[in-house]
Symmetry: C2
Subunit: 241 residues, 2 copies
């Protein structure tokens, strides 16, 4: 029987070791997926690759698994951050899910002048990226950073990291052209603005920063989540090549 | 006052002509956007560019507008078709909306062996693409084709049109590499498989067709809607350059 279910777990994973699942993972295995002792699952922790594990015992609130075999070895990932102004709930959830599928390594909600959403449910975001990582066969889970104001994000920026700002006002070259002429560095970040766009003062301030590159995705006005998915897809396609 | 609202309309658009809106557009203008006589809107029909128009009269079920000025001229668009196996409702709606934002010219629901969704609400799809086109500042609305079985789509295919099949089993080169070596032709099509992937027999049959090119979006398993958005974004980025 093939193991189909993938679970993310914090513990170290190594041959012959045993790990315990938490109560919600146990519930999922037993009551949703109808697996019991002897069932096989895949485990990953973002460090030790993907392991096949066998269910050894299940209790009401936990399950113990024994690690059988390394199925896929951990591989290095290009570091790509996505900074985004939170949009309404489904948009933010969609950004988290799709960005995870597209290999984002860090997700950072950034509050801009025109950001309408005041509260970001960070726990929900973290749960979303774990679920998406489990389903898309990633060996890692993106890091979710605490929301911060754009001005603070910029003043604390590591200047060696290029920040590609998707500018709806058309102030930049096409993203693909930028990446062709100046291929992705070892670590980069993409910033997507809010639904209403960046404030003029924000664009002016960013224009003065040496690490900022403005980029465009064309003439059409994209929703924030479309812009996030499109720019990550293009980045991955051209960084990989 | 600037016209903010964009509406798609079938009528010809020309200087000094008058057009009538249908009842749902009239309702939207009057009751949602609170516009009345003298208010300005933007109109487009996919042929004659974008026009500023003034509301001349409003009735219970219709509104008459007078065309003032051509604001943006019609431009040629690269023809890019998206064929997709319908997924559950929100996924299909999302594909329609995002594909429109990313400039798809034709949307074609295709029924494959592993397609779980039997019924596609074509009227809903058509309404979705109009709404998305109005919001993203496109000058056209994608054509929505009637759902058809994959085998029929393939047997009636125009062989001059390249069909790029996104193959989750990894049977193709990265999409960006394909487009770099063999840039987009004057008209192309992308096919996205269903959630469960294509059947082996479908892949084998397509592999024998001269117009089919298999392509990959990397190792991660993308949801159908993510694959649609990602491949269109990459296509637009590399076709434009």
């Amino acid at each position: 029987m093939d193991a189909k279910i993938r679970l993310f777990i914090d513990d170290d994973l190594a041959a012959d070791s045993r790990v315990a699942l938490n109560s919600s993972q146990t519930h999922y295995l037993k009551n949703v997926m109808r697996l019991d002792v002897g069932g096989l699952v895949l485990l990953f922790n973002g460090r030790d690759g993907e392991w096949r594990a066998e269910i050894k015992s299940t209790g009401k609130k936990d399950a113990v698994l024994s690690l059988q075999e390394l199925v896929r070895a951990q591989v290095d990932e290009a570091e790509i951050w996505l900074l985004f102004a939170p949009v309404k709930k489904t948009g933010t959830n969609m950004i988290a899910e799709k960005a995870t599928e597209l290999g984002v390594t860090h997700l950072w909600p950034v509050i801009t002048d025109h950001t309408n959403v005041e509260r970001v449910k960070i726990d929900r975001l973290k749960a979303n990226v774990i679920e998406a990582a489990e389903q898309c066969r990633r060996l890692t889970v993106p890091t979710v950073l605490e929301p911060e104001k754009l001005s603070q994000v910029l003043s604390g920026w590591n200047e060696e990291r290029r920040l590609i700002v998707m500018d709806e006002t058309g102030g930049g070259d096409p993203l693909a052209e930028i990446l062709r002429h100046d291929p992705a560095a070892s670590f980069e970040a993409i910033l997507i603005g809010p639904e209403g766009g960046f404030a003029r003062s924000e664009l002016d301030a960013m224009g003065n920063l040496p690490f900022v590159t403005f980029a465009s995705l064309g003439d059409r006005i994209l929703r924030a989540e479309t812009a996030a998915v499109a720019s990550l897809a293009i980045w991955q396609a051209l960084a990989r090549g």
